[in-house]
């Protein structure tokens, strides 16, 4: 008897900033739509554990997508993209879940993402609060300068550096297979993409002057940062909690920068109650530990 997972993958054509992109996504389950954004330089495989877990798919239509230029979402055929440096901007990144939500006819999905995806949760809450019922930002911060580094796309340094730099972003308590799998995905990105994504992470994402403009009466904002994440730290989380008191902010003990893939079992314990609170419409009370 063959053993299959419940998730299925397909492609959808999305118009983003005037260019048509063929975007790959995988989905599983039914209920409230849950859009999942991967980290910089990676792809939707990071979410495979949620897609395969009936405790998530019982109540949520889980949709994990690959950004253009990532995973199975190839660069557009209409553009001479090889003649310019790849660079991810806030406007482009915000457009992807919005366009995907419209294309799939989703009704105010929950958005969840990690790292650039965690930053994006706050940007979406600020600029598009009516399009989502909630955002869950993992490994989020107001501003994280310093990551847009030439060494991340250097002819003398292979993708192995990225893979193992990311290995060091994870918690020593996470299972070895989870840390290695997360690193493996990083070793497979196109060489310029990780650095290009960090243009958004370190330069274009900057909410230091605007975080208070997020209206948490309009959109449910949840932020969870890992204890061992040295890029988006518990201190970053506490800064969000102080300046956005309507947000629910929690530190994840013994977790690093990739909760969903480095330690799926631990992450499930931490995030499933959050998603269930959102599903039941429970009003948040901010608690930063």
């Amino acid at each position: 008897m063959s053993r299959f997972e419940s998730s299925v993958g397909r492609y959808v054509y999305l118009d983003i900033e005037g260019v048509e992109y063929r975007v790959y996504f995988e989905e599983s389950g039914g209920g409230i739509p849950l859009l999942l954004q991967h980290t910089a330089g990676a792809d939707g495989r990071q979410w495979r554990h949620l897609l395969a877990d009936p405790d998530f798919t019982r109540n949520f239509r889980v949709v994990a997508y690959d950004l253009p230029f990532h995973g199975k979402s190839l660069p557009p055929t209409s553009e001479r993209w090889w003649e310019e440096e790849y660079r991810l901007t806030a406007s482009f990144l915000m457009s992807v879940p919005l366009a995907l939500s419209a294309a799939l006819d989703l009704d105010r999905p929950i958005y969840m993402g990690s790292s650039i995806g965690g930053h994006l949760a706050l940007d979406l809450a600020l600029h598009h609060p009516d399009d989502f019922r909630a955002v869950v930002g993992l490994e989020a911060a107001l501003f994280t300068p310093g990551g847009y580094m030439d060494i991340l796309n250097h002819p003398r340094v292979s993708n192995q550096f990225k893979a193992y730099m990311m290995y060091g972003l994870m918690a020593p308590q996470s299972p070895e297979w989870g840390r290695r799998e997360t690193s493996w995905v990083y070793s497979q990105g196109a060489p310029p993409v990780f650095k290009g994504d960090l243009y958004y992470f370190s330069i274009d994402h900057d909410l230091r002057e605007s975080i208070e403009q997020i209206d948490t009466s309009k959109i449910d904002v949840r932020i969870l940062n890992g204890e061992y994440d040295w890029a988006c730290t518990p201190d970053h989380l506490r800064e969000i909690a102080e300046r956005l008191p309507g947000a629910d902010c929690r530190v994840m003990d013994e977790i690093g920068h990739f909760p969903m893939s480095e330690n799926p079992a631990r992450f499930k314990e931490l995030v499933l109650p959050v998603l269930d609170e959102i599903r039941r419409g429970k009003k948040v009370n901010a608690v930063a530990s």
Binding site: I151, H154, R156, V157, S158, Q160, F161, A163, Y164, M165, Y167, G168, L169, M170, A171, P172, Q173, E227, Y228, W230, G256
Partner: protein, 133 residues
């Protein structure tokens, strides 16, 4: 801080992942723990010798990589389960007292080889602590 560097050489050369990650590597990797500095001579991915570093040769070779930190930082880095931001060299540079000086292109190209060798060192240090207890 007492470290058995000859044991590190044997364990590093016997470590499957280090040997895979260090292939083709020619460098002098220097570890400075407080004021004490040792050099690890690596040729074609094999550790040939570990010995106290000679001040006159410090960073004289173009491929030398020096990793330095106060002794307390090294002690925390080498704990069996390191506390946050001591789990990795990049983290320890960003948030703690670690510095990497020298041939940075080689350091990045062989990041995992260096990190793995320090994991081997962590295992040795904690094995020694268990034996001493």
């Amino acid at each position: 801080m007492q470290i058995d560097f000859q044991r590190l050489m044997r364990a590093g050369n016997g470590d499957a992942e280090f040997r895979l990650m260090s292939r083709f590597l020619d460098t002098r990797l220097e570890l400075q723990i407080g004021k004490d500095r040792h050099q690890i001579d690596i040729h074609d991915g094999e550790i040939l010798a570990i010995r106290p570093a000679d001040d006159e040769t410090h960073l004289a070779h173009p491929s030398t990589i020096l990793i330095k930190a106060p002794e307390d930082d090294w002690r925390r880095y080498l704990e069996a389960v390191p506390r946050p931001f001591y789990q990795d060299l990049w983290a320890a540079q960003t948030h703690h007292g670690f510095e990497v000086i020298g041939d940075r292109a080689t350091f990045h190209a062989y990041y995992r080889a260096t990190a793995r060798l320090l994991e081997v060192l962590r295992a040795i240090v904690n094995d020694d602590r268990e034996e001493a207890a």
